[in-house]
């Protein structure tokens, strides 16, 4: 007895007869762009990309017009533009990452993490000196900023989500607006309070205060989102068991939201780790490690980058790129951590 196997026809699958005009169109676009760039005075990558876009628009529009109608032509033109826009998002980032790695890798060695710049002059080769002081400075400032901003950020998010006090929507609105405060303004504010008002000079605590102001909104908003994801059943279960609100929040809500809250902190760190402008107004800059938060100038990676960029000689510029490279590694590390914890939260839910 012959078996009859039923093959599903899958009518949505693109058939060759439907695809070949598109393939031909793409081929035509590429070939004609190459031809036009070769023949006409248009030249270089810019000329080629412009020609390519124009030819893609013309080809796709005329193909769809011939096969269907004007509306289909409009549709394909817009499709080309949407793809071009997506490419324009990728291109700068790709260029940025490529340049950072290719320029930063030059002076990269293990030695830069063991030395600072206190015994090295700015125009000495990259094999001398290092950026240990800047790395330590950044970690130190970010740690202090986290210590300051985390309680405030979490309390603000608890106020909005759990307590829901009279000003909850107002606080929410202002926290949103606070995330748009220019970083330079935060630096000026700290300078006004800490230096002019209280008479201190440049130090780590001032830098940390400025970064904390920028970090609070990120922490508060992310934590708010996380707390909102906790199902209301948990709150009601806690209250029904006779727990006070304080016990419910401390023993049910916060443990349930733990990984999300960690994500909030790390996102805040990633937001401020590279901030430069407020540090220019508060740190003073140094070439050696300074671990006293209230006394003496200090440095940080963004500051190091900025200083070496401003010095302008070839070795300094290379050092600036090296600093950028290390800074980006740090930011990406925080960023991947945040994503890792964010995903762990999703798995638990």
């Amino acid at each position: 007895m012959a078996t009859i196997s039923v093959v599903p026809s899958k009518p949505w699958r693109p058939k060759l007869s439907r695809v070949w005009p598109d393939i031909l169109g793409a081929l035509f676009t590429a070939l004609s762009s190459v031809a036009i760039v070769a023949v006409t005075p248009l030249k270089g990558r810019l000329g080629f990309s412009i020609t390519l876009i124009v030819m893609a628009v013309i080809t796709s529009a005329s193909i769809s017009w011939l096969r269907r109608d004007r509306k289909a032509a409009l549709n394909s033109v817009s499709t080309v533009f949407v793809y071009v826009a997506a490419a324009f998002v990728i291109i700068p980032l790709a260029s940025l990452l490529f340049e950072i790695v290719s320029k930063g890798i030059v002076g990269f060695s293990f030695g830069i993490f063991t030395k600072d710049m206190s015994l090295t002059s700015a125009d000495s080769p990259l094999s001398e000196g290092g950026l240990l002081h800047a790395v330590i400075g950044t970690l130190y400032i970010v740690l202090l900023a986290t210590v300051i901003s985390t309680p405030v950020g979490f309390l603000a998010s608890l106020y909005i989500v759990e307590v829901q006090g009279r000003f909850a929507s107002l606080v929410r609105f202002f926290v949103q607006a606070m995330s748009g405060v220019p970083s330079i303004v935060a630096g000026l504010f700290i300078y006004a309070v800490w230096m002019i008002g209280l008479g201190n000079s440049y130090n780590v605590a001032a830098g940390a205060g400025a970064l904390a102001i920028l970090m609070i909104p990120t922490v508060a908003r992310t934590a708010e989102e996380v707390l909102k994801l906790i199902p209301n059943d948990l709150r009601e279960a806690g209250l029904a068991l006779g727990a006070t609100q304080w016990r419910t929040v401390a023993m049910i809500i916060l443990p349930a939201a733990k990984s999300g809250l960690v994500t909030a902190i790390i996102l805040g760190i990633a937001r401020v780790a590279g901030e430069t402008a407020p540090l220019l107004l508060t740190l003073g800059g140094a070439d050696a490690i300074n671990l006293n938060p209230f006394e003496g100038n200090s440095s940080a990676l963004p500051f190091y980058v900025w200083k070496n960029y401003s010095l302008g000689n070839p070795e300094s510029i290379q050092r600036a790129w090296l600093g950028v490279f290390v800074l980006m590694i740090m930011v990406f590390m925080f960023f991947s951590l945040a994503r890792y914890f964010g995903r762990a939260k999703g798995a638990n839910r």
């Binding site: 826009a85 970083s183 000026l188």
Partner: protein, 321 residues
């Protein structure tokens, strides 16, 4: 043996002491964010008060930023008019360059992209948002500027008859055009992610209805997605504008600060309040420092207003969705 019922518990709506303490602490923490904003405004005004009082409205409209020269009897004049104008110019340029690309990318992610490209690209946009501004500054100065100068030359060559593309002198580097390009790249992530959020809230039944009526993808987007999401896109663009107005070091590296109002955007002369503060901060004396505080206050107020409006628009759009 008779059962002894326990005394019924007293039922009260008055919170316990522990709860009252808890609520007190949380409320204090919540309101402290308001306090920080108020303190920022207060301290900047407090320190910049004398300059604002002496200069009056001229502080906003004046073009001169000069320290006093006591020997020649010249009093100090501080005006940020040119810098304010320059800030708005580069902010608008950033919007013009950045928003169409960001919205296009958001459309791509929402309606065009195949699944396998969607996730990496969302990560790419998130990564872009996390890149520090000093990195954009270095990249803009060393990598983008040589290209952008060439583009500017082409624009001037073919569109030079339009006044804003005119060039009185062949100085193409560090122009508002280039600053606008760098800022555009910096605001793309935020505009794109907010646009994507509001596009995601478009009612799916309307989308399917449009397709069922025979609409092409673009016709569907024009008829359904844009009317629903336009508020969010505008809000996102304004949020990006707020970022662009307050951007400091990236602009400082790619913009030549000149205390003059110039309409030519390709010329190496522009202004930015935030960059000016960093520029002047190093060698400022006590009085100039007050002027810088006042400038910071103006910047603070402007960005706060832009952010307020942006958030109000976005919240309204998001709630309706």
């Amino acid at each position: 043996m008779p059962k002894v019922l326990p005394e019924p518990r007293e039922i009260t709506t008055v919170p316990r002491i522990s709860d009252r303490i808890f609520r007190g602490i949380v409320t204090t923490g919540g309101l402290s964010t308001l306090a920080i904003l108020a303190l920022i405004a207060f301290f900047l005004v407090f320190n910049g008060f004398e300059v604002i009082r002496d200069e009056g409205l001229r502080f906003l409209t004046g073009f001169d930023w000069m320290d006093a020269i006591p020997d020649e009897g010249i009093a100090a004049t501080y005006g940020i008019g040119a810098m304010l104008y320059g800030t708005l110019v580069i902010g608008l340029l950033a919007i013009i360059f950045g928003v169409p690309i960001a919205v296009g990318a958001a459309l791509f992610l929402s309606y065009y992209a195949p699944e396998w490209i969607k996730r990496p690209m969302v990560v790419v946009i998130d990564v872009m948002a996390a890149i520090p501004s000093v990195v954009f500054g270095l990249w803009g100065y060393f990598i983008l500027m040589p290209h952008a100068e060439y583009w500017a030359k082409l624009i001037h060559k073919y569109l030079g008859f339009i006044p804003i593309f005119d060039m009185p002198a062949p100085a193409y580097s560090r122009s508002p055009f280039i600053a606008g390009l760098v800022l555009a790249i910096m605001i793309i992530p935020i505009v794109a992610s907010i646009s994507r959020e509001v596009f995601a809230q478009t009612p799916p039944d309307r989308i399917q209805a449009a397709y069922a009526l025979g609409a092409t993808k673009w016709a569907m987007i024009k008829a359904v997605v844009f009317p629903y999401g336009i508020g969010g896109v505008i809000g996102g663009a304004m949020l990006g504008l707020g970022r662009a107005l307050g951007e400091t070091v990236a602009v400082y590296t790619v913009l030549n600060l000149v205390y003059d109002i110039r309409i030519e955007i390709l010329l190496s002369a522009g202004g930015s309040v935030a960059s000016m503060i960093v520029n002047k901060f190093g060698e400022a004396d006590a009085i100039e420092l007050r002027a810088l505080m006042a400038a910071g206050f103006v910047l603070f107020v402007v960005t706060l207003i832009v952010n307020f409006i942006a958030n109000a628009i976005i919240n309204r759009t998001a709630r309706r969705g």
